[in-house]
Subunit: 258 residues, 2 copies
């Protein structure tokens, strides 16, 4: 009896046409049946945003290595939701997002459209992995990542993931990773965040920029530490942000009288 190949849904936040998406698709077709449902336009920094006040359209595009390809006129999370609702004919066994052009390590997880889609898959109960390369170049070389992406993806297909957990995988740029480390996100935030301009009429306007300030640069338990040392990193992510361990503290705080 023929064993059914796993169905893999792929999305990203850079949109169709991004080299990282095509690269991930060409790896995934060696592991299962693949359907790509990607944003029609770039969606970097869209986090888990959903489109609530406008309608969404689906468009079909030429296949990549036998994988069907569609775009959705919305966010990465819209792509996952609408793929499940209107594109796929069965529930996917795996959702992959990426390979993102740019880092989603450290605090970037929360702003990332790549990880928004990954967490959406996890919320829907499907094993989900987000892949990112620490290079914003549209011509970034994804070849050195291939064996790592293939190995991690194959293991998750075979073993699944713990309930309520997805993976945020980042790769160092311009090198072959020395290996992979399972770690936590470095505690960090963005600083000096805007470039300031003025229109010809003198009205100021602002463009997001800034530097990542890592509060734990010497901590080998964090992703940033290893990415700087040419390792790839795997961070287990829990979309449910409830701090269960702080419920007692907050109860105490709220019961205090002045």
């Amino acid at each position: 009896m023929e064993q059914k190949r796993p169905l893999i849904l792929i999305t990203n936040d850079d949109g169709l046409g991004a080299r990282g998406l095509e690269h991930l698709t060409r790896i995934a077709v060696t592991l299962g049946d693949v359907v790509v449902v990607a944003p029609a336009t770039p969606q970097s920094g869209k986090s888990s945003a959903i489109t609530v006040n406008t309608p969404l359209y689906i468009e079909e595009h030429p296949a990549i290595d036998g994988a069907q390809v569609f775009t959705v006129s919305g966010t990465p999370v819209d792509c996952v939701k609408l793929a499940m609702y209107a594109v796929l004919d069965r529930r996917p066994d795996l959702i992959l997002s990426g390979i993102n052009h740019g880092s989603n390590a450290a605090v970037n997880n929360i702003y990332s459209g790549t990880m928004g889609a990954t967490m959406e898959g996890c919320i829907l109960g499907i094993p989900s992995i987000g892949y990112s390369l620490l290079s914003h170049s549209p011509n970034a070389d994804f070849d050195p990542l291939t064996p790592f992406v293939k190995d991690i993806t194959a293991k998750v297909i075979r073993e699944g993931l713990p309930e309520g957990i997805c993976l945020n995988v980042n790769f160092p740029k311009e090198c072959t990773p020395l290996g992979m480390k399972v770690v936590r996100a470095a505690k960090s935030r963005w600083t000096e965040e805007y470039a300031t301009y003025a229109t010809p009429h003198g009205t100021p306007f602002y463009w997001l920029t800034g530097k990542l300030h890592n509060e734990q640069p010497d901590d080998p338990a964090t992703d940033e530490y290893w990415l700087k040392r040419q390792y790839g990193t795997i961070v287990p992510i829990r979309p449910d942000q409830t701090a269960v361990d702080e419920i007692g503290n907050i109860e105490n705080l709220m019961s205090r009288e002045e």
Copy 2:
């Protein structure tokens, strides 16, 4: 010597003009100096999205009860970042977001622009609270919430919050809350997610809708349980989504050979 009043930054995701924002502002001015920096347009469902590919503008509006009021042409997170960078003359002691018209309980935390702004404040190291009322009506009655919002806000001004933790506060609709419960978000997801249409030319399009499926309706440790029983809920939220407790499991999974 005069004691400095705390500086409170207020934002939301429904935009300036929302009744909940004005209500929260009128409460906050009794507790400190208030500056409102709200989105210029509705930003529901924007999560922690940031605007990376277009510039942002700031506009000043008439004061509310002595509070300065500005809009930013972006998302709730943009409002917090740009307020810190270009509007406030000192670091705020507290960030409030809301009062949102609609629930941010259960899984909604991850899609919520209200909570995106709240988590951004937390990432920046500022005690932050998101407030939501379980009614989408633009004319919702916020008066019954006043003593609760005032009490929680005053306590957080006085006591602060644990590092890396912010609060997601939700209130039941059309009633005076019977009390407040500190709980976790109910495990849940959205189902039956789109209404389907066709253009006059026969092209299908899709509009987000759906129902919240609560997997734990009978669990008194969850927010949905108490909101259905006329209680308000306080969920401690940790923006850092690393599942530290799963690092060992994922290490094992990755080290297994076929």
